[in-house]
């Protein structure tokens, strides 16, 4: 025995001498030893010496290591094998393990005699990172016990009286845990490696997990590390450009606004179109807005039905799974502090005329004394008479300001052998560049997990977020931007007495509803008239228990609760006479409302995992119950005695209005998920979910949603290795998936008829009548999304390059849309399964990483295309007016009505407009533009008027007949680019996104290039056509009677259509990690400072403020992308900001 020990010790010592420079990377499942040996030989040049008979009784091994010393690797290989090894020079001798009796002759569990069990030794060593710097605070624990220690400032540790056969676990946050068998070694040094995303990354797929390399469906994993380098308030912003196929658009640049997330195109026209978001298994309804980005450990996006099917309903829009950070076992408390400060730079604005230019344009049209104008503003006349009495005011500068922002984040995490914890506290405070806008959020999160015994684990998550949100005012029905670009340039916000003044007839406004009368002093609105805020209290928590019933069989019960509580108030003060117009609410009014939506779910999951030889099976079955509630209560009064009122009970309030509603819906689900693989080569995933929703009538309540996906890892085939492909393509997998997902896009109680209430009269006696309203539909059933995906995953040159490629084809069948009910059976509209919509596209990602000396870098690029086709949406043609019941008064006060249309068999938000062909250079040209009867097609046209194309050839220009397709507002291609690099202490990150193929209707130009009315003009009008002085201009002549004549300024023309392609440089960050010496001096384990620029540049040919078109600050729109993608309206562009911050860990 002693001899053996001596031999082994010698062996180890030898190894430690040579092994330092001989590290091994190896990954494989069930690999025969011969293959392992040849791989080691390839990597080290060491030769193996053995006889075949020695290997006869060995088992294939499953090992995943990277960069471990050769000896450690060989220990793992020989563990539980009847062989041992010796290293001499460049040779490794393999021989049979001698069957020796141990001191007490015990058989060890693996059938060999344990010769080291009772030998107690002292172990010491050092833990360093891959740069060779020592790591402080690495925990070293004897496996299966609570005994252990931490490394000191030098990364050194020592342990006494450890059994020689023990295994040590080395762990450190953010680094791979390593297990090293002591094997009688006295010195064990480890190199801790940062956990890197790669093929071995664990991916959450529904209710279970799998290694990325074994994925058979389209699951994308966000690069959390680079995300956290974007100093964003909302995680959604960070996801932009990070995951292919996940298209995110900001509604605007105001802080706290929700963002629009869309996965693989819009595939339904009603109900929720945002993906299902689960944070630690808790369904979060309010988007990702209120989550502290620093709490996030991983984000995974399930994009196709074969993966998402396990989530059944709601998953049809895709699923975003967020996992938050947890503490690590056997680690001393670690404190991390991050903070940054930022200054946002106001947007420069568009070019509008100053007072002098403005009046000169008016004079050109109406004569020097403006006598040609009806109701010329007196102010303009006064200005012309004596410009010295007026001064210019820059309204765009007045509404956009430099804005400050700061964020702080503190977390403590750690754990002992019986459990882990992590607690974090974060605060972010952001003022928007638009006046009044503000977002302030405080987050608390506490996660913990405990091992109750070897077979029971319990855990919990808790998060709370309190937010204050001040949105951009809906000033007189419009955003600030509208007023700023249209306000008369000589108009001052305050009069000579220092009172806020409002525009009126004198300035050029009016009290009648018109484009003109909408132009009002936004500063007065914000400072004198109006205030509003929204306070949010969001809560999410979950608790779970996991019980190991048998080996491989676990039961998990998870209960979750999430709540979104919003409290809003809005007040108006007394407007006074000069503010009297209809845009304004009642004097001294105050309204307040509370909205609470909450949901809970209970998941029961039984999971069985077993590996038998090359067969690997992982089955999960479950039962989930889920319920959602929503409650609203609100009240309103006006005429309070004071405008400082913050209570509905304040003195003087009158005409109370109250409202309330409360709804709920529930879902029951049975689910199953099975993963099977053979030899890591042939992979099958089967999902099934059966959902029952309270929104459907009893007989149509249940829907079955299966998904199946197959994968084939060609790189694990023998021929792959034999052909030598393996040298270039380390990993290659093809996969295909098919699945059906359901949507319940219905109201909560659509199948329950509500009663109508009227009066009937009997001999002059009115009596109440009540009866069922229009018929309800019992047979509305689940809307189905049939999703097909094929794709490949690859890794080249040992992981230097990796990526994937996907093609998807999603068809929504039986889409729930409003369908008219025949008048003969009662009339009305039901929600019926009649619509059909398809989405197709490609997605690709490619990442390249490399290291040259101390310089390492990583380039990531992703790209996705999408094409949406409305196969059937109930009609052949629809405009937004149709959508809103054919009543134009239901339309928002939109600048341009009816410029987009939906056509059966075509895409979304398509511009159908009259095309133009420049200007008539002279009157003759206009007169020669004739129809077949010899009449002028544009009878009023003169030199300098726009030539419109008579598309239908009927000899006249009409909005009904001459519309042509002029592009779509929805991008065809989205792209994202991420670059990270580090050199010694310095790191750099650059992130960019782009969108291509869309057009934008430049409403800003449309608004300011109209020459009628008295609102301010674009400076482009200074260059208007003039037959004498400016005959080559492309800007139509200034004709005050244009509306009744040629209609140059009509909205439905392609004149305002511009290419919308853009590339945005969103983030650049430069960081510097303090050298160890300094870190130590200031008692930190790591410290980093950084500087960032956000939204550095837009590369685009679009001439408006921001080519990323989201929604509007006034959230009227139900389906922004159906009709209004590509139509900007009043929104604040995203601001550029400069940031400076630190990350420190103690």
């Amino acid at each position: 025995m002693k001899l053996t020990v001596l031999l082994l010790t010698t062996g180890f010592l030898t190894v430690s001498a040579t092994g330092v420079s001989q590290n091994i990377n190896f990954s494989g499942k069930e690999v025969p030893l011969e293959t392992v040996f040849s791989e080691v030989k390839k990597q080290t040049g060491f030769v193996f010496l053995f006889s075949q008979s020695v290997l006869a009784d060995t088992k294939p091994v499953t090992i995943e290591v990277s960069n471990v010393p050769l000896s450690t690797f060989l220990d793992l290989v020989c563990k539980n094998q009847p062989i041992k090894y010796k290293i001499r020079s460049k040779s490794i001798f393999i021989s049979a393990k001698p069957i020796t009796e141990s001191s007490n002759g015990q058989l060890t569990s693996d059938g060999t005699f344990d010769i080291l069990k009772d030998t107690l030794i002292d172990v010491r060593g050092r833990a360093v990172n891959t740069n060779g710097s020592p790591l402080r605070g690495v925990s070293i624990v004897r496996k299966g016990t609570t005994t252990g220690t931490f490394t000191d400032d030098q990364g050194n540790y020592s342990l006494s009286n450890v059994p020689a056969n023990a295994t040590l676990q080395f762990s450190f946050v953010g680094m791979k845990m390593q297990e090293i068998a002591i094997g009688n070694k006295a010195v064990i040094n480890v190199v801790m490696e940062v956990v890197e995303a790669g093929m071995n990354e664990v991916i959450v797929t529904g209710y279970s997990t799998t290694a990325k390399k074994n994925l058979t469906s389209s699951v994308a994993s966000a690069d959390v590390e680079s995300m956290q380098k974007k100093a964003v308030v909302d995680v959604t912003q960070a996801l932009q450009g990070n995951v292919s196929g996940v298209n995110i658009t900001a509604i605007g640049g105001n802080p706290g606004e929700d963002m629009v997330i869309n996965i693989r195109g819009l595939s339904s026209l009603s109900g929720e179109t945002t993906p299902l978001i689960l944070v630690d298994g808790v369904q979060v309804e309010g988007g990702l807005r209120n989550i502290n980005p620093n709490d996030i450990k991983s984000i995974q996006v399930l994009k196709d039905a074969s993966s998402a099917a396990v989530y059944g309903s709601r998953a049809a829009n895709g699923v975003i799974l967020v996992t938050t950070k947890k503490g690590e076992q056997n680690l001393r408390a670690k404190v991390t502090y991050n903070d940054y400060f930022s200054s946002q730079v106001p947007y420069k604005g568009i070019s509008v005329t100053n007072s002098k230019e403005y009046t000169s344009i008016l004079q050109k049209m109406y004569g020097n004394d403006l006598s040609g104008a009806d109701n010329a503003p007196q102010a303009a006349l006064d200005y012309i008479a004596d410009p010295g009495n007026f001064s210019d005011f820059n309204w765009q500068e007045a509404i956009y300001r430099p804005a400050f922002m700061q964020a702080h984040d503190l977390s403590v995490s750690g754990g002992g052998p019986s459990g882990t914890y992590r607690i974090s506290l974060g605060n972010v405070s952001q003022n928007g560049i638009a006046l009044h806008t503000k977002y302030n959020r405080t987050n608390v999160r506490a996660n913990s997990e405990f091992n109750v015994s070897n077979f029971i684990k319990i855990g919990q998550t808790f998060s709370y977020a309190r937010s204050l949100f001040k949105r951009e005012p809906n000033a007189y029905g419009r955003g600030l931007f509208y007023h700023a670009i249209r306000m008369y340039p000589y108009f001052q916000p305050k009069d000579q007495n220092g009172n806020w003044q409002e525009s009126d007839d004198y300035w050029g406004g009016g009290t009648e509803r018109s484009v003109e009368s909408g132009i009002r002093n936004p500063l007065a609105f914000i400072n004198k008239l109006w205030d509003a805020a929204e306070v949010g209290n969001d809560l999410a928590m979950s608790g779970y228990a996991e019980i190991t019933i048998l080996r491989g069989l676990t039961y998990k019960i998870n209960g979750a609760y999430a709540q979104i509580d919003r409290s809003e108030w809005e007040k108006y003060s007394a407007k006074g006479e000069e503010f009297s117009d209809y845009y304004y609410s009642d004097d001294n009014s105050y309204s307040r409302s509370k909205n609470k939506s909450y949901n809970w779910n209970i998941d029961n999951l039984l999971r069985f995992q077993r590996k038998i030889g090359k067969h690997n099976l992982d089955v999960t079955v479950g039962y989930v119950a889920q319920k959602w509630y929503s409650d609203e209560l609100g009240g309103y009064k006006w005429n309070f005695t004071s405008d400082q009122t913050s209570s509905l009970d304040a003195p003087g309030g009158m005409d109370p209005d109250t409202w309330s509603s409360s709804t709920e819906h529930a879902l029951l689900s049975y689910l199953g998920q099975a993963f099977y693989s053979y030899d890591d080569r042939y992979l099958v995933t089967v999902n099934f979910r059966r959902d029952g929703s309270s929104r459907f009538h009893t007989g149509y309540r249940w829907g079955n949603f299966p998904g199946v996906s197959l994968g084939w890892r060609l790189s694990n085939e023998k021929f792959w290795e034999k052909s030598g492909l393996v040298n270039a393509i380390t990993d290659f997998k093809i996969r295909a998936g098919y699945g059906i997902l359901g949507r319940q896009n219905l109201g909560d109680y659509d199948y329950i008829a509500t009663l109508e209430n009227e009066y009937a009269v009997f001999d002059n006696d009115p009596r109440l009548s009540l009866i069922t309203g229009n018929p309800v539909s019992y047979d509305t059933k689940w809307e189905e999304l049939v999703s097909k995906t094929v794709g490949i995953d690859y890794e080249l040159f040992n992981g230097k390059v990796n990526g994937s490629f996907d093609y998807y084809n999603n068809e929504t069948r039986g889409m729930i849309i409003g369908v008219p009910i025949s008048p003969s059976v009662g009339g009305g509209v039901r929600q019926g399964n009649l619509g059909e919509i398809t989405n197709k596209g490609f997605e690709m990602t490619i990442n390249y990483k490399n290291k040259i000396g101390d310089f390492s870098y990583n380039v990531g690029f992703n790209l996705s295309t999408q094409k949406t086709i409305l196969v059937n949406f109930g009609s052949d043609l629809s405009t937004q007016e149709d959508e809103l019941g054919g009543d134009a008064s239901n339309l928002p006060e939109w600048d341009v009505e009816h410029i987009t249309e939906l056509h059966k068999g075509r895409g979304l938000s398509e511009f159908w407009l009259i095309k133009t062909n420049g200007l008539f250079k002279n009157d003759e040209e206009a007169q020669q533009y004739l129809n077949k009867n010899g009449e002028m097609i544009q009878p009023f046209a003169k030199a300098g008027d726009i030539k419109f194309i008579d598309y239908n050839g009927d000899g006249q220009i009409t909005a009904e007949g001459d519309r042509q397709f002029c592009g779509t507002g929805i991008p065809k291609v989205y792209a994202g680019f991420n670059f990270t690099a580090s050199y010694k202490q310095i790191d750099l990150y650059i992130g960019a996104t782009g969108a291509f193929g869309q057009v934008i209707y430049n409403t800003t130009r449309y608004l300011t290039e109209q020459n009628h009315g008295f609102g301010n003009f674009s400076t482009a009008l200074l260059d208007a056509f003039d037959p004498v002085s400016n005959p080559n201009s492309n800007i139509p002549r200034l004709n005050p009677d244009d509306i009744g004549e040629n209609g140059n300024t009509r909205a439905a023309t392609d004149r305002y259509i511009e290419k919308g392609n853009y590339v945005k440089i969103r983030n650049i960050e430069l960081g510097y990690t303090l050298p160890e010496k300094i870190e130590k001096r200031i008692k930190m384990s790591s410290a980093r400072i950084f500087a960032r620029v956000q939204n550095l540049a837009n590369i685009t040919r679009y001439t408006g403020p921001d080519p990323e078109i989201g929604g509007t600050p006034t959230n009227w729109q139900a389906h922004p992308s159906l009709y209004t993608a590509g139509i900007p309206r009043d929104f604040t562009p995203q601001a550029r900001s400069y940031q400076f911050g630190v990350n420190v860990t103690f």
Binding site: G144, S453, N454, F455, I547, T548, I549, L550, Y555, I557, I602, N604, L606, Y623, A625, S661, T663, A666, L667, L668, S693, S694, H697, R701, D748, Y749, I752, A753, T754, L755, E756, N757, E758, Y759, A760, V761, F762, D763, N764, D765, P766, R767, L768, S769, L770, I771, T772, P775, S777, Y778, D779, V819, P820, I821, S822, P823, S824, V825, G826, G827
Partner: protein
Amino acid sequence: MKTLIEIMPKCAHSILTLLLILLSVSCSKNFLDLKNTNDLTSDNFFKTPRDFEYAINAVYRSAEGVRDDDRQHINVQQARGGESDLVSVHNQEFFNYTNDVTNALSGGLYANLYHLIYRANTVLYEMDVNKDVQWDNERQKELISAQAYFFRGLGYFYLAHSFGEVAIVTTPAFTEVDRTPVKATIPEVYDQAIADLKLAKAGLDEVPDVIGTVSKGAATGFLGKTYLYRASYLSENEYYALAAAEFKEVMDMGIYGLVDDYVDNFTDKNENNIESLFELQYLYAPELDDVPAQFRGITSVPGIAEQVVVRPSKWLMETMSTEKDVNGNYDVRYLETVYFHGGLDLFGVPYNQLCGGMAVVDGDHYEGGCPDGSGDTTGGYWRKYLNVSDDFEQVSYDRGASNNERILRYADILLMYAEAEIKSEGSLADAAAAVKQVRDRAHLSDKTWTSDDELMTEIKHQRILEFTYENTLYFDLIRWGDLGAAIQDHGNDVQKISYNPVKHKYFPLPLEDILSNKNLKQNEAW
């Protein structure tokens, strides 16, 4: 590793866990059955007799659909029969017989009639499925269902002669099968109306407890009218005798008669009187939301009218003014029907002082008109159904009136009886006696008729005098096969060209109904 397995027998542990799972899975059976607490819903209604009374009230309310909202439809439909000239630019296609399947006037009537049927069906269906309602007595239940049958029968009566081949719907629609009924033949539609009205007749009281609710007389009258229309529309002559028998039954009830004052049929002074078998109950009550009121005024006379839609035709005024009464005056029915120069004042304004109108603008009344009498002295305006018992001060175009709309009058019973009696080769004397009653009320001199044809001519003439502007003439002309001749005689040029007796016997089914029900086919002529 010491697992639980080593502590307790394997199966015990597994069973324990599985029990735990089962416990958590065995969730309440009703987990997915949720209630809408924000609205009144049908699933917690129809539980008490009171609920059914509310529901049947709602059926009454939708009965106004036979006259359509704002009277646009009814006025233009009447104009088609030659009573009126359409002076509005709107709805000229309908007036001129150039309408198509998208026409909103006929489509509106169709939807209204089916809405009435839908509500009646709802009441009948809910009575059927809610077996455990605690009725005060059986009679209460019978009365509710008889009223529902009455209105469903009424609906099918109108559908049968207005639209011809339509779908017969007798239950509320919940599923695709319910929502896509097939078309029935015209006799089948009449059969449905007859069956329903028979059930109504059997179940209703002769004198209902509540004034304004439908009676046995109303059901009997409409049953007779249905027979008569069936006989004349479909040339099924055997139905004339059935019709005559029903009318006779009404006449023999002894509770109906003609009111002395003809105008009492149209104002709020003497509503639900002995002449009325069924009338739509109106009340102007702006303090309550949504009480049905009479709005004929808004289309009738300048100043009251938002816009005058129809004016009595020259032909009509000539027809009505020919026979003077025993005192040498205009027939009272002409005077009460048309407002014309030489006729009665309206709200105190003589016709020739009307000038620009009643001078009621934005609710402000001021003396308008031409006091010197220099105003318009040609043509007339409709006076019938203006609530002439109102004060001038109360009249305004945005104000409704309280006068009920009479749908079935005893005078109609008498004239229909006379017609059915003649056509069924019954007694000429009995028929003449009935016509005489109508003439007597109008103070016309005694007259004798020697042949059926002679009397029939008189009946046709009396129907014009009696019922003009009451939505009968147009359908009478179709029934009698006289519409084509009438159009050739006094229609306009467009009507003369476009009228097609086959096509225009019925209105088209609305396009929306064809589009949303794949089983429906348009009427052949359309």
